[in-house]
């Protein structure tokens, strides 16, 4: 199962700099957002959208072709 991943601000540093936060990932079928965060070694306190819809539920199973965006969660500013 192949998904498109976009990481923003400091989270991008989980990928090589030339990727500029964007990658295509091959995940096992039935992989969840939790699995994805673990795979990327990302914290759970992040804000995620799947296909540009907010997804707070980390047990959400991903589908091939999904676009997953992950942002740091920050308050205020």
């Amino acid at each position: 199962m192949v998904i498109t991943l976009k990481l923003y601000s400091t989270l991008r540093e989980k990928l090589p700099p030339e990727a500029r936060g964007q990658a295509t990932l091959d995940l096992h079928d039935g992989a969840t957002l939790d699995d994805l965060l673990a795979h990327l070694d990302l914290p759970k306190r992040v804000v995620i959208s799947v296909n540009d819809e907010h997804e707070p539920d980390l047990t959400r199973r991903l589908n091939s072709g999904d676009l997953v965006r992950i942002f740091s969660a920050v308050g205020g500013g």
Binding site: T10, R12, H54, R69, A73, V74, G75, G76, G77
Partner: protein, 643 residues
Amino acid sequence: MPHGYTGNILHVDLTHQTTTVETPDEAFYRKYMGGSALAMFYLLRDMPAGADPLGPDNVLVLALSVLTGAPLSGQSRMTAAAKSPLTGAIGDSQSGGFWPAELKFAGFDAIVVKGAAKEPVYLWVKDGAVEFRPAAHLWGRITGDAEDAIKAELGDDKIEVLQVGPAGENQVRFAAIMNMSNRANGRTGLGAVMGSKNLKAIAVRGTSKVEVADKQAVSDLARWGAQNLPQSNITGLSKYGTAETTGANQTIGSLPTYNYNSGVFAEWEAIDGTTMYDTILKGAEDGKQDRLGRDTCYACTVRCKRVVEIQEGPYKVDARYGGPEYETTSTFGNYAGINDLAAIAKANELCNQYGMDTISCGATISWAYEAYNAGKLSKGDTGLDLTWGNAESMVKLTEMIAKREGFGDILAEGSARAAEELGRGLGDYLITVKGQELPAHMPQVKKSLAVIYATNPFGADHQSSEHDPAVEADFETFKDRLAMIGVNKQLPKRSLDAEKIDFAVKTQRLYSALDSLNLCQFVFGPAWQLYGPDQTVETVRAITGWDVTIDEIQELGERRLNMLRAFNAREGLDRKEDKLPAKLFKKALKGGASDGFKLDEDEFEAALDTYYEQSGWDVETGNPSRPTLERLGLGWVADQLKM
């Protein structure tokens, strides 16, 4: 020799061109500590009730705290306060930079400015000496030019200059006070107050040092901060700026778009902080933006300030005027459906050159865009095409407001006055509280902000309390710090019950204390900031030597809030002015995660009752009560209010 403060308050009488120095005792400093609370002391003591905000009776206070100038991140900040020409209520605004520390090194904890000069003047403050100097040759010049001219004529490049730009001279009601030509005391129009006094600038230079009580403790705190910054929750903000939050706000439906009619903007990625970092930050072309594209405040290791440089295209931007924060990318961007980051950076540059608040300026423009797109304003009125997304007109209007040209002259009054002047039901499109435009955090999504925005004494403000996610989804991460100020329970999403108000009140007190200690709210705070409440206490102890506790800090915050509210009560304001824009209740948001969200009148009014009760204020009027004022050592304020 006191620790942390100089003991000198400079009083400046512009009318008679005289100065005096007041030397309050230690008990005074311990009680008010600085910044906003200290400024309120002088405003309540020295300003007559009912003063014209743009007349000589208004008093403008620029105040540092007992911590300013110490060698620690987040301490070089300053409060400007006066009666606001935008709201008619108290005006209060914070800024960072190098000017605050420099004023301390020059020997003063605050400057209290009274009267008005007949001709433009500027003040030259050097190591305890104060000089009035003519400023007619600086009048009309943009900030960068005036700053260069002052440094050249005083012959010292290390001078820090605080000033008003042409917008302050023109008394634009949301004019800012600028320092470094890129840091702003932006909100509540205090630049217009300074302009009305014919005070162009205050140049400062000092060579003394701040004595701290416990050098080792201060350096331990500094070292801890530097070591923990990379793993902290503000590391993204330091590198990518506050606009790094654009995508997260978009995702949760809290990115105010089309003048607050939607919480999502389809083209958000074009104006996001990560995009800014990759494209227009100085040095981005060669990957050197971490070195060239970030700036700081005195002694701050965080270096969060943006430096944008654009040399090609229709919107060239000079790096000396900094770069936009999240509030600015929002108000000049998503607020009017604008996706052009270069145009936003240009509007930001204009605001810093002319000296204007980017929030009120952008939001006043987006109000006009909504009216135009609803067919209530025409090109005949505006002289410009204000179709949603038109970046060119937005940039043009920004300049027209600063210069009070054409339609810009009406908008320079702020959206609330402009709506009143134009009539035609344009009030329906307002997003103001007490006449001040809303910042870019949505109370429909983060509901405690509904109460804070409505009740905040100087109009809607996003930096007066912690936002709801800290006690909702992120509670587990922050529970230890929140417990230090008595917030102990995770709360459901979008609640607005007594427990949520308790969270708002307690975090508001801490933020209020930070504005009196003049500590940066990115560096100190109750949740995601670099240092927590315990370290805030340690900082005050280490610098001053006072045995303060978190309760004393919270009480300082409460004292300052009561003084602000008391000022408003003296001006005749009460609960009637604690109103949110009608459209937040009437019109549901469209699209994204906040689709259908609107506020509920009954829930909101009940929440207000709870808020006043928990604050120890009169529920009918929303004003401070005598027992609360007396508990906070403010019996003299109760006497003034004749209660």
